[in-house]
Structures are given as structure tokens and as C-alpha cells.
Amino acid sequence: MSERTIAARAADFASESPRTRGLLIAISIAFLSLFLFLPLAVVFAQAFAHGTGAYFAAFVDPDARAAIALTLSVAAVAVPLNAAFGIAAAWAIAKFDFVGKNLLTTLIDLPFSVSPVVAGLVFVLVFGAQGVFGPWVAAHGLHIIFAPTGIVLATLFVTFPFVARELIPLMQQQGVAEEEAALTLGAGGLRAFVTVTLPNVKWALLYGVLLCNARAMGEFGAVSVVSGHIRGLTNTIPLQVEILYNEYNIVAAFALASLLALLALVTLALKTYLEWRFVGAVARRPAR
């Protein structure tokens, strides 16, 4: 038997009949349409329901602008911090052995298993007026809960795992040989880290930062609990969308929401590009 017939027979045996394939693809498309394409389309349709004038007017509103500014500044603080934490945690876990390593790895996943609302509530219980550190916070004139600081803290918590989880498996796979080589050649620890470790994970780092940013800008539950919903002050875009919608200001609500939808699309596109282009360099996310 020629090699070609063997391969062809194997392919026939492994694949479904054309009808089954067609059915599975149709179901996937229906599912995606219903839960993904349709909602996205509706967001833009509703945002432009009263024309482009009304759409852009929504962004002139001072509360909307404050919400956009707050969302951007929260992300600008939370994402770099979590990138740094993530790199540090991944480096420690992948390159060293220490007591409590498994505990650390488990703790990193904690924000994924905690409901965002509970995450926000935890901060209220700790830093709120009646909280554990409440009197201390008040005595120092700090405003954490119902202020932007609390929002940053809550966002830091829920977006913490993203960078670490992208880097840990990749760094573990890469091992320590290159770093050791750098040391034998005379590089100090920090030098080796910057010139050898970081460049080896740059695409996975970008991927993790992308995911972290998307979640930071879109987070609702945890931020909702700590923010206090003070108009013009402690409302992020998701919170402002909720307020506008509850006031039946549909066009403005969806106009703001379209910003988040655009963010989602851009994130998805960049993510897909990174996965396609750097297949080996971006470790596949481990199954949850």
C-alpha cells in the first residue's frame, strides 16, 4: 500500500462525516452569533439609534468624561503594578525553590475563584469607616473606600493573576540554564534578569498585560461595591453605563458601552495576532 492511501484512510477514519461537520459548525456559529455577534451589533446599533450627533454628544457630558478619565487612570496604575507583581511572582516561582512556593501559586489564582462582589466587599470591610483599619484610615485623612484609591485596590486584586499566569508556565519551561550561563559570563543577578530573562518572555508578557488591561477597564462587580457611585468622581465607564441605563438614557449608555466593545475587539485582535505570530513564545493558558 502506498503511503498516500494509508494517510487518506487514517484521515477518513478520524474525521466525521461531512454532515456531522456541517452541523457542528452551524451550531458553533449559532452559539457565537447569539451570545457574541448579536450583542456586539446591538451595542453599536443602539448607540447610533439617534444618529451620530447623539452618539458623540454622549462623550461631551462631564460625567461621561470623568468616567473615561477615571477608567484610564485606574488602568494606568493597576496594569503596570500587576505587570511588575506578575513578573516578580513568576520569576520567583519558576527559577527558585522555596518554602511556601505551592501556597504562593495557589494564592495567585485566588482572585479567579472569588466573586468580584466579594472581592470589593473585602476592601470595604477592611478599609471602610466601620472596617478593621477604618479608624486608622480616618485618622490619617485618607480616603480609600468610595474614592478612586479603593477602585484601584479592587482592580489590582481582580486583575492580579493575568500576567503571572501567562509567565509562570513559560518561565518554568525555559528553565534556568540561560540565566546560569549569564552568571558564569559575569552578569549580576539584575543584569541577567534584564538582558536574558525578560527578553525571553516579552511576548507572553505583552499578552498578559493585554488581558490584564481588558479586565481592568471592564471590571464591574468589585469596583461597584467600593466606589459609592459618586457621579463625576468615582464612576468608571462600566458603572456610568449602568447609571445611564437605569435613567433610561439608552443612547448615552450604549455609546459609552461601545467604547468597551471597541476595547474588547482591539484586545481580541491583538491577542489573536500574538498567538498566531509567536506560537512558541506565548504559552497556551493552562486549563482552569
Binding site: 540561560e178 549569564a182 552568571l183 558564569t184 559570563l185 559575569g186 552578569a187
Partner: protein, 243 residues
């Protein structure tokens, strides 16, 4: 390149790990410019000993001396050893040129050679390692034998006191291995560097080395010239291992 090799003295080195004695009371002196093989089965502690000499691992007891200097307390960077890893550990995101130049570029500004000097040094090494014109390639684009030679060039660029190789030919096929063996001997003779290499291949050790140290379960069973070992093995283990 430097011509003077240094003496290596290993005195009373011992190491435990996880309840096991990996190395015990290792005494070994390697003469300047000598090419010595650490030969033994896996688990004999030979790689650990090599890494202790390099400073990548610390011994619980004993001393390491390079020439007249006590190196036991020196960091791995301060020891200035050239180490070739079993997996070569080339910097995958750097070109061959940058890999070889790395040791020179991380030197503190005062000691760092000028760019042109570094380039000259790297080109010389590329020539010596028979890798002309490959400076712009990346490690992934090289064959196993070529990567090996880049790893060696990289280690030698820092003008090391001693050269340490961990199973240098393990990952290569038999023909390439034979060629590189011959070539390593030539490089060693040309540079006069004190060289220690680890192997589990007794043919390789006997073929290449001036002296062979046979290790077993953390002890040195016998040290001597290849002929001495095969003609008068000191223990049954040595006799069987070299059979």
C-alpha cells in the same frame, strides 16, 4: 587569548542534598593546562562537582582554589570560569555575535573593551571555532555542532581561568561527536587552558583526557592517565566501568 592555564585544587569537598550525600571528601588537583575528565555513571556527582568548581552550587565543606587564590568564597561571577552547559544554553533571542560578546558587554564600564575591540575578539573566536560569517544568525538557525562551538566561543570570550564543560557532546550524533572531540583537543592544546569536562562516555574520556577521574556515588574511585586506569584499575567498579 590567554595562554596560561591555572591549577585547580579541590580539597575535602562534600555536599548533601535532600538527605543524600551527593559528594563526599573529594580531593583532586588539576595541573595548569591539563585536560581532565570527570567520568562516571549518572548520579555519581560529577556534574555537581563541576558546578561547585564553577560556583553555581556551594559545597558544605571543603575548598576550591584556582592557582594561589582561594575561590571558595568567590561568587560565580568573580571566579571567571568558562562554562559550557550540556544544553549549550545559548541566549535564544540574541544573535551568535551577541551571544559570544555577552561576557564582554556585561563588564563594568571601566573594564569593558571598546565596541571595535569586542567585534575583533568575537570575529577571532568565530574563526577559531570554524564558524565564519555566522555572527548574524540566531541559535535556532544553527545545527547542534555549530551551537556547541558557539557555546564554547562564548565561554572563551571572557578569557576564563579554567574551562568547564558539562557533557559537551551528549546531544550530538556519533559522527559529529568524533569530529568535535578531535577539535576540542586541538583548541585545548592551542590555548593551554586548564579544562575539566564531565562525561559518562568512557570512550570519550579515555580518548580526550590527559587524566581521568572516575566517580561513583559521590566518591572518586581512581584518578590517573587513561592507560593507567585501563591497565591497573584500582577497584572492581573502575575495572567494570572501563570494560
Amino acid at each position: 587569548m590567554n595562554g596560561a592555564g591555572q591549577r585547580i585544587e579541590i580539597a575535602g569537598v562534600g555536599k548533601r542534598f535532600g538527605g543524600q550525600q551527593i559528594l563526599e571528601a573529594i580531593d583532586l588537583t588539576i595541573a595548569p593546562g591539563e585536560l581532565v575528565a570527570l567520568l562516571g555513571p549518572s548520579g555519581s556527582g560529577k556534574t555537581t562537582l563541576l558546578r561547585i568548581i564553577a560556583g553555581l552550587e556551594t559545597a558544605e565543606s571543603g575548598q576550591i582554589r584556582f592557582g594561589d587564590d582561594d575561590a571558595t568564597r568567590l561568587t560565580v561571577q568573580e571566579r571567571r570560569v568558562g562554562f559550557v552547559f550540556q544544553s549549550y544554553a545559548l541566549f535564544r533571542h540574541m544573535t551568535v555575535f551577541d551571544n559570544i560578546a555577552y561576557g564582554l558587554t556585561v563588564r563594568p564600564r571601566r573594564e569593558r573593551p571598546r565596541r571595535r575591540e569586542i567585534a575583533r575578539c568575537v570575529d577571532e573566536l568565530l574563526e577559531m571555532m570554524q564558524l565564519p560569517g555566522l555572527g548574524g544568525r540566531y541559535p535556532a538557525q544553527l545545527s547542534g555542532g555549530q551551537r556547541q562551538r558557539v557555546a564554547l566561543a562564548r565561554a572563551m570570550a571572557i578569557e576564563p581561568r579554567v574551562l568547564l564543560l558539562d557533557e559537551p557532546f551528549g546531544a550530538l550524533d556519533a559522527k559529529v561527536r568524533k569530529e568535535l572531540r578531535q577539535w576540542l583537543r586541538e583548541i585545548h592544546d592551542r590555548t593551554g587552558l586548564t579544562t575539566v569536562f564531565v562525561t559518562h562516555d568512557q570512550g570519550e574520556a579515555m580518548d580526550l583526557a590527559d587524566r581521568v577521574a572516575v566517580l561513583n556515588a559521590g566518591h572518586i574511585e581512581q584518578v590517573g592517565a587513561p592507560r593507567e586506569l585501563s591497565e591497573t584499575p584500582a577497584t572492581p567498579f573502575v575495572r567494570e566501568f572501563l570494560a
